[in-house]
Amino acid sequence: MLHNKSFVRKTKSGKITKNVREHYLRDDIHCGFTACKSCVSSAARLSLSPSTVLILDTNVILHQIDLIENPAIDDVVVLSIVLQEVRNKNFAVYNRVRALCNSSVRKFYVFSNEHHKDTFVQDMAGESKNDRNDRAIRVAAQWYQNHLKGVANVLLITNDKENKRKAVEMGISTETIETYIKSLGRQDLLDLIVRPPSEDASMEDIEDLRPSKRRVIYAEHKPMSEITSGLHRVIYHQGKLRVNRYNPFEAYVGSESIGDEIIIYGWTNMNRAFDGDIVAVELLPQDQWQGENSLSLADEDDEEEGAHLVPDSADDAPREANPRQGSNGNANLPSLPPSGRVIGIIKRNWHFYCGSLEPMPMPAGDVSVAHALFVSKDRRIPKIRIQTRQLGNLLNKRIIVAVDSWDRTSRYPSGHYVRTIGEIGDRDTESEMVLIENDIDARPFSSQVLACLPPLPWSVSSEDLANSIRQDLRHIRAFSVDPPGCKDIDDALHCIALPNGHFEVGVHIADVTNFVHPGTPLDDEASQRGTSVYLVERRIDMLPKPLTEDICSLRADVERLAFSVLWEMTPEAEVISTRFTKSIIKSCAALSYIEAQARMDDSRLVDPLTTDLRNMNALAKKMRLRRIEKGALTLASAEVKFQIDTETHDPLDIGMYQIREANQMVEEFMLAANISVAEKILKHFPVFSLLRRHPTPTKEMLQPLLCTAAAVGVNLDVSTSKALADSLDHAVGDDPYFNKLIRILATRCMTQAVYFCSGDLSSPEYLHYGLAAPLYTHFTSPIRRYADVIVHRLLAAALGICKLPTVFQDRPQLTSIADNLNYRHRNAQMAGRSSVELHTLIYFRKRPTDTEARIIKIRSNGFIVFVPKYGIEGPVYLTERNEKGGEWYVDEQQQQIKKMDGSATYGVLQKVQIHMEVVELQPNRPKLQLTLI
């Protein structure tokens, strides 16, 4: 069975070494056919009697992956050499192919041709790596052809002319991907084919007869070797390109080498870079640097951003481009931000884009292939040229498009159609777009996942009661306080006055890990989803519904399993002792925040439950005070709440989300539980605890806040979180909303908190800045966050209740889980916001409104306002769109915009009256327009 064959490989790692590796050739690798008589068929994946078996070459897989993912392509043999090449060239595509090979519904078989004794090919002298691999593919195809003689046809799919010619010489039947799809007779699939750029250019000629169109529009990208040496000599600067949300013709590249942001104006300078690409940038000569004026809101192409939701943190907000001016203080010599141009793209960030086709008349006559321009929903993405055979069908649809290439001669990148989402304007379609854009898996749970659930109806069994690790707390008067209509109740509380005058306070968290065991499909799915996603009209669960709403949910008057944190506290809210235990509880009431607040406020009520609530509230207030003394920030967010029509699901009303004392009370105890758990798990597992940290914001990040504050005469001290908290408290203006506004602006300067593995960082970095807690983690919502599930397992292991799953002994794996959680968490937030934005739009479509707004940022031709009532932020223009500047000028120091004749002045944080209306300046892109009254 073992055939030993060693061969020589040279690798370069600083110096040239000669590596010798064994390479065993085998005779037990089967062809993957169920019907094959000579091979063992246990691992067979191909169908019983396929008419044709496809063998794809590397470039076909790399470029046509969207097509290959279509179920029409099946019975494919993927050669291991092809997989290896794909892996080296594009890891994302590799993962997609691997997913296809593992999927039980698709018939993809991986044939290890490199280890098969008949298909292994020796390197030949003077042959390049690519040629050798192509030869290996042909040899394998030939082997298949002989092996399956009379059973099935073997078809080698390659778009490489040379490869095809040689294959034909060897007697292998080959097709290009186009001819193969044509032979299938599936018109719709033809749209999915990616065309090579050269072909594309020639088609453009036919389409557009203007000769000027062929001219070179963009500068050539520098070769990689030149970029690398340029980066070394600090001629070029590397960084991630971020396109301005307000103006797609302007982008920033954060560069470490010059420690500042380089601004890139216009598409010519951006040179075909997309938002999120890692690019190499060259600085322009200083006299070409542009000043403040160009940082205007509008742009050349009649496009502008409508109003949108207020970003929650610095990560989301468009970056302030000119942070230095304010600190400089010298208005006569404004130092301009460096501008540059992109000279090469180091790593592309191309993915799928959602949007629609630009409306165009149907081409006259019977033209089978039409060219169309795709307009992404995300304004930062340029229009994308696609070819389609189903133009009439797609014009009123939301579609997904992938980018293939961007030629120097073409103004727009070219791409191909991937799939249709649905009708434009349909709420379900638009909601689904939100999900797709944020990479959220909203598919129903698979049968394997559902098989992991306990049988329904579930109730606490006698085994659970008898289990010695589980404390019976059913006699305790526990209750839950949640938003109204909440079905996934994952926390309950109790508070008992002890005889010695102290209080026993308990936080009971749903015991999700009792049902979700590590290594099961259920656990894998949950760890992939990472978090539940809350959209305005629906919720996408992390765990299947029976767990979320029934088995784990700590509903009133049913016995449920819980993981409890119990403290003994003095009336001054000092913690005497902390205890953790698994438990069984029976909640006596599921209150909403409003109910709980009403009970506490109603002095006539003296029932035990209300007394408990009042005691807890008193404790919570003291804890909160202590936390604030330590420097925790009270930040404000502009969260809004919709009232949704139960029938049509249209929004009926929006308003700011009101925060009551009851909310703060519950929050306080959850924070305390999280902190207690964080301390406990870190003590037991110093290297692989999952914690949550909130990095201290840097000076630069707080700069915009300081600028604004200074302009309105408030002095903020940002040296520590304590100082900032205090100065925020003192920032009281004459109107009641002023303080909240400052807090909202402060919130925006912060980065987001992130999960991390404790072994990856040193302990000063564990700090949670916003809460002023040296340690923090998430423990209290295991039904809707996977991080909490992990923390539950860690805590159970720390208590010796169960064994630690093996995942935790692998730090890289834990780090990758933490990264995924951060990614999912962020996406869930973005999706939630997009959903709110979408519903805001639907709401205002029928209701143009006049309302009060605050100016939060001054621009050269207008300002950006914040509408407190609806949590909306958007630009207001003072000048007509086509005029530049004109009679207005900006006072940078005062953060004011003044009319030349001095008749009108608008300053930052000033109150203005605006009119809000939904307009559709561009087809299929409705937006909220704000105008000054």
């Binding site: 073992l2 030993n4 060693s6 110096k15 070494t17 000669k18 590596n19 010798v20 590796r21 064994e22 390479h23 065993y24 050739l25 085998r26 291991s80 691997r98 090979c101 593992n102 991986v110 290890s112 490199e114 280890h115 093996t806 002994q809």
Partner: protein, 241 residues
């Protein structure tokens, strides 16, 4: 890094439970009392045994048993980069000690008091698992030198990468930094004389991996027994029996 593909093949084309190709030869150093070479894939070692002979350093002489000495070294050309390996570095001292202790457990030292047995092992080509290969070669050399032993000692390594137990790690797999369990057994007596592990493993997985290594040792033992038998037949033939 992917050490086991989803198709169940390792980088070099073996399946997880397969060993590399074995090859052994006896009597490769004519001058020594006993010698052998042992090849596991691309790992090639040579062992020579001198003794039992008079103790060179009188102070080390023991009146009730033989003194066993072992010296492990790597040839300068044994790895890709031709570095000068100085003698007596920490690694080779450690391996020398390990080999000596493992073999001492099976040599009937009390039969040869006041004498000394020298075992020299040298790695000619290194590709992972040199420790195991050295022990296997030394066993054969001891047998060749007709030194009385309780049983032969055989050794094999096993590791755990990509959540799969792997038998007989080669250099690439060895340098992955995962757990690497080396086991030496007395196959007939079914006893373990050597157990070493790098890195960490949960206990239940460790038992699996160790069991796998023991299976490997048994396979090596079968092979070594074949070689011994063949060698004996050769000797018979030469004597003209």
């Amino acid at each position: 890094m992917e050490y086991v593909s989803p198709e169940g093949l390792r980088i070099d084309g073996r399946r997880p439970l397969e060993m590399r190709k074995l090859h052994a030869e006896m009597g490769v150093v004519a001058k020594a009392d006993g010698s052998a070479s042992f090849v596991m894939g691309n790992t090639k070692v040579i062992a020579a045994v001198y003794g039992p002979r008079e103790v060179q350093n009188r102070s080390q002489q023991m009146s009730d048993q033989a003194l066993v000495r072992c010296e492990y070294s790597m040839a300068n050309f044994s790895t890709g980069d031709r570095m000068r390996k100085q003698k007596g570095d920490r690694r080779s001292t450690e391996i020398s000690l390990v080999i000596r202790q493992t073999l001492e457990a099976c040599i009937l030292t009390h039969l040869m008091p006041r004498s000394q047995i020298d075992i020299y092992v040298q790695v000619l080509q290194a590709d992972g698992g040199t420790r195991s290969a050295c022990i296997n070669a030394a066993t054969l050399a001891l047998a060749d030198a007709a030194i009385p032993m309780r049983d032969i000692v055989t050794s094999c390594s096993a590791g755990y990468l990509n959540s799969t137990p792997l038998l007989d790690l080669n250099y690439v797999e060895d340098s992955a930094g995962g757990p690497d369990v080396t086991v030496g057994i007395l196959p007939k007596m079914d006893k373990v004389t050597l157990l070493q592990m790098d890195s960490k493993l949960p206990i239940d997985i460790f038992e699996n991996v160790m069991q796998l290594a023991i299976e490997g040792c048994k396979a090596v033992a079968t092979y070594i027994q074949e070689i011994l038998l063949e060698n004996t037949k050769q000797l018979e033939y030469h004597r003209g029996v």
